[in-house]
Symmetry: C2
Subunit: 215 residues, 2 copies
């Protein structure tokens, strides 16, 4: 039985929940509350699984795997159907680049630990933290919009007619963008693709509000 250490609002955990659902893989969700008890992710038992204290971690038998995109590639290799990556090297590079633009260049800069540092060390107000958050979301999603809108490989989903790795990254990031009131008016391709994804049970059931630890 797969065991996913998750937090309902974690964007990275949300990506893996979508991938597990798309592949029809059952898993046990183990909540790790990032704000309670000084952060449950900082407790030694969890740090032994995830040295940096990030969620998600996927346990598969004896092995514990961290980093959401590495976990999704692992699932793809062990459970290839339905595929979350296309066939050609060029297309796979495109899908991974979209996913990594979100997972490397937007999300980590807006992570909880970074926002906490801004408050602690720079005395950032909530308004300044929100402005920071929106700045990186907008810069990153505008780039993603361009990668999608300018390329004929974009279909109903980020790549073609089947949801995949890029969609697993895009939907949680747009969820966060909306939570922080980022204006997505000039991102019609992103909005269209996210609407298509959210109509699918695999995405809808992975949403934060549907998780057992949702507040």
């Amino acid at each position: 039985m797969l065991k996913l250490y998750t937090y309902f609002r974690s964007s990275a955990a949300y990506r893996v929940r979508i991938a597990l659902n798309l592949k029809g893989l059952h898993y046990e969700a183990v909540p790790v509350h990032l704000l309670k008890e000084g952060g449950q992710q900082n407790q030694p038992a969890y740090r032994a699984k995830s040295p940096l204290g990030t969620v998600p971690t996927l346990e598969d038998g004896a092995g514990a795997h961290t980093q959401s995109l590495a976990i999704i590639e692992y699932l793809e290799e062990l459970h290839p159907l339905p595929p979350l990556l296309p066939v050609s090297a060029e297309a796979r590079a495109r899908v991974r680049a979209i996913a990594q633009t979100i997972a490397c260049d937007i999300h980590p800069v807006n992570n909880l630990r970074v926002l906490q540092y801004l408050g602690r060390e720079f005395g950032a107000t909530q308004a300044q933290k929100d402005a920071w958050y929106r700045h990186w979301v907008m810069a990153g999603l505008q780039a993603v919009e361009q990668m999608l809108a300018d390329d004929p490989a974009t279909g109903r989903y980020c790549h073609g007619e089947r949801p995949g790795l890029a969609d697993c990254s895009l939907v949680p990031q747009v969820f966060n963008a909306r939570r922080f009131d980022c204006p997505l008016d000039d991102m019609p391709t992103i909005r269209r693709i996210v609407d298509a994804c959210e109509a699918l049970p695999a995405f809808a059931n992975a949403a934060p509000a549907q998780q057992p630890d949702a507040e």
Copy 2:
């Protein structure tokens, strides 16, 4: 002919330079100076290739590929020998998780554009920017040290006896750590592996000081 848009000091470009060298692939280096002329990465001609304005971009015929780890996976798929990823899904997940801990959780938070924002919006001094930089490097590399030291799969290199994707990410990050005087005394496994890598021409020739645009 492969064309790599690169900046000598870019950690992400350095990763791809190592991978190209390990695979023995010749490429033309096209320098993109991140500080000159308001940042050459912000010019429209470059933004057409890399919408977010990041380096590196790899051009292979008509295709332009961004995101360093996506580029290395692309090279791995088209030029499988020598391999930069191990064979089993479990081992591949481990190598990717080490690479992503660096490429997602350390590097983007310390990127030039983030440091510039700290100065512009929070009036951060150079000392405060340096403290920020060191904070994320130390937190991230301590996690990587644990991932390496606690696992019998670690060998002369991050995974076994052959340099691969994780080493391509680790060496540039340690180069940056040293540049910012981060103390690596309690990271003996990382220091040992980086020494082993730097003894190889593929790594030595990819170093910032060896690049045509080095200052």
